[in-house]
Amino acid sequence: MAETKTYREALREGMVHGMEQDENVILMGEDIGVYGGTHLITDGLIDEWGPQRVMDTPISEGGFTGAAIGMAMMGMRPIVEMMTWNFSFLAADQIIQNAAKVRYFSGGQVKVPLVIRGPNGGGVQLSAQHTHSLESFYGHFPGLKVVAPVTPNDVKGMMITAINDDNPVIFLEAGALYGTKGEVEEGDNSVPFGKARVAREGDDVTLIAYGRQVNLCLRAAETLEEEDGVSAEVIDLRSLRPFDEDAIVESVEKTHRAVAVQEQWRWFGVASEVAAIIQDRAFDYLDAPVIRVSGAEVPAPYARNLEVAGFPSEDQVTNAARRVLYIEEK
């Protein structure tokens, strides 16, 4: 049985589910308590759970992330909010050098059940320092798990999975979609990591994305259907590390064509990995090169028109699809 909820509500529900299961699950972060959370994800929770389960921290991303790693090594299961992932560069050393590796360099003596979550990606004119998509940035490092759910049901289900995971999970939320609604299953709807989701079935071309761009691809697919009679399959990767190689390979074996779409920058990004995987594992099935559609190769600008121009557009996606189908671009 499912209900319609916003991404924000579903996310909170996933966290609360975890807090109900285990008192070692606590929330930490800047202004998540008294202030109510900058994006209101945790609004009201401190009243219900008190300041120990919902802990406000000073503005010290590196410090409190490191402290949370120490807590996790002691058996607690902290969920750390990065007010936005843009601030996580200050915690990069703690995340990459400690959270990701301490299990390995301790010879398996410790584990780090830690979730670090927050809004990822841009879209509301926050400009250069406040607009990043960090999937590949963190996805590069062994020891971390990295997920990027886009539907309300997935954000709840993957949060539950993340909380139950004994490893550090980088939980990248579609910040621009906190208010969007969708069906959300009641109770424990755990969504496994490493399994992509077929967001739309199709036969002629595979559009591969994650996060906000999944919706862009779905719109593009509709347009392709209407304008070009093309049946596009849309795959939502949702989990970048572990990564579901089979899902994209199987789809391409069916469609023989693929377009990888990402908001992040092209160089050394997810789309390049997708293209590398497909050419490696579906070489003989490909009828055209995998085309990558990425954000403009510039720091994010403030002006609305520039920002919009810098993100992947539906036109870019539909035309990329047309190109791999060798049909007229529009």
Binding site: V34, Y35, G36, I59, L90, Q129, V298, P301, A303, L306
Partner: protein, 388 residues
């Protein structure tokens, strides 16, 4: 008429905030043209004499100049909030309402060649250094005529020619830059200094610690003429200083770096002025850093977007509005009969008009050309590394 005239029952915090604005708005009518940037050049170049005397007895003319500067900032910030609510200003936007005396007092000591760097609450710093309010407002409106071509927005105002080395959005992230700038000023053998503004909340950041330690260390050799100006408005977003550190004497935190420090009443423009004059001269002479904790209060919400202020009471805000720096100075000017209500009104009208013009300019300006998306990524041959 004074800022603190009773305003009647207040229902919600939103109304409190709105009321300041409306009320403040109410004293703004038509007036004389814009003499503002001229004004600003004056204060920009600094009325050195009185400062070198220690500047304790501030000449009444100067007080009026300072009043003008604070009204400029207040008027601009109110227009900016209005623009935000109209959806014409986007992104994160933070105003300085209630804190005007701090930047106004310190930038009065600014000398040609000095540098200023701050965080994202940066409108007053640009305006007081003489940036054209038209261009600043146009930046907030995301227009090509903006101070940084519409590329940075509210948090990233730069006017390098005038010494404004930028507003930065990562809390604490600009502090090391400012310390490096001060070092460069000595390395390049100038007698310029850097005014480095930072918030109370930023002092929890490692960047603050590392930069302050470098400043103290380099200062031993007279190589770091940096004035740390802590705009202690008592909150980092919704977190009070008490909830952010066990040791709340922010000035004293600089002891750990061997940096001389003091506190000043950030609501009293004369106190700030005296402190700023004395401290900037000492830093200019010695090449050693100095820290000032200016106690002030943000009567506006943290960001133009948030109106639910669960973290503080209306009463607290009301209390502090009693010490509004503009209100205090108005009172002083009236009591000393330096100027009368009409005089004050004229000044307000003048800036009202100037900011109205800035708003129209911003509103009517064009968005940046799309090509601008791809420029300024690199200096020199612009290597754009993607497909346009």
């Amino acid at each position: 008429m004074l800022w603190n005239r009773p305003m009647g029952a207040i229902k919600t915090v939103y109304e409190v905030v709105k009321s300041v604005i409306l009320f403040a708005g109410s004293y703004l009518q038509e007036g004389r043209g814009d003499s503002m940037s001229a004004e600003n050049e004056n204060s920009g170049n600094g009325d050195v004499e009185s400062r070198e005397e220690g500047g304790v007895a501030t000449s009444t003319d100067r007080l009026v100049d300072l009043y003008r500067n604070m009204v400029l900032v207040r008027t601009f910030e109110e227009a900016c909030q209005k623009g935000f609510r109209q959806g014409k200003v986007g992104g994160y936007t933070h105003v300085y309402i209630g804190e005007e005396a701090v930047a106004t007092g310190f930038l009065d000591s600014f000398k040609e060649g000095d540098k200023v760097i701050t965080a994202y609450r940066d409108h007053p710093h640009a305006l007081l250094l003489g940036s054209d309010p038209k261009e600043v407002m146009a930046e907030l409106y995301g227009k090509g005529t903006g101070l940084v071509k519409g590329k940075g927005g509210s948090m990233h105002l730069f006017d390098v020619e005038r010494g404004m080395m930028g507003g930065y959005g990562i809390v604490g992230g600009h502090i090391p830059l400012g310390v490096g700038m001060a070092y460069a000023q000595r390395y390049q053998e100038t007698d310029h200094i850097t005014q480095l503004y930072l918030g109370d909340g930023s002092m929890s950041q490692g960047a603050f610690h590392e930069a302050a330690n470098l400043a103290g260390l380099w200062g031993k050799g007279g190589m770091c003429p940096c004035v740390f100006i802590v705009e202690n408005n008592q909150y980092g977003m919704g977190t009070s200083v008490e909830r952010t550190t066990a040791m709340t004497d922010l000035a004293a935190k600089f002891d750990a770096y061997g940096i001389e420090n003091e506190k000043v009443d950030g609501m009293d423009i004369e106190a700030v002025l005296e402190c700023a004059g004395r401290v900037t001269e000492q830093v200019r002479e010695s090449g050693k850093p100095y820290a000032v904790e200016a106690l002030t209060y943000r009567t506006a919400p943290h960001g133009a977007a948030d109106f639910f202020e669960k973290y503080r009471t209306k009463e607290e805000v009301k209390e502090w509005r009693q010490r509004d720096p503009i209100g205090l100075l108005e009172q002083k000017l009236l009591d000393s009969e330096t100027i009368d209500e009409d005089g004050l009104q004229e000044i307000k009208d003048e800036y009202k008009e100037q900011i109205d013009e800035a708003v129209s300019f911003a509103d009517e300006s064009e968005e940046p050309a799309i090509e601008e998306l791809y420029t300024d990524v690199y200096s020199g041959e612009d290597e754009y590394m993607g497909e346009e």
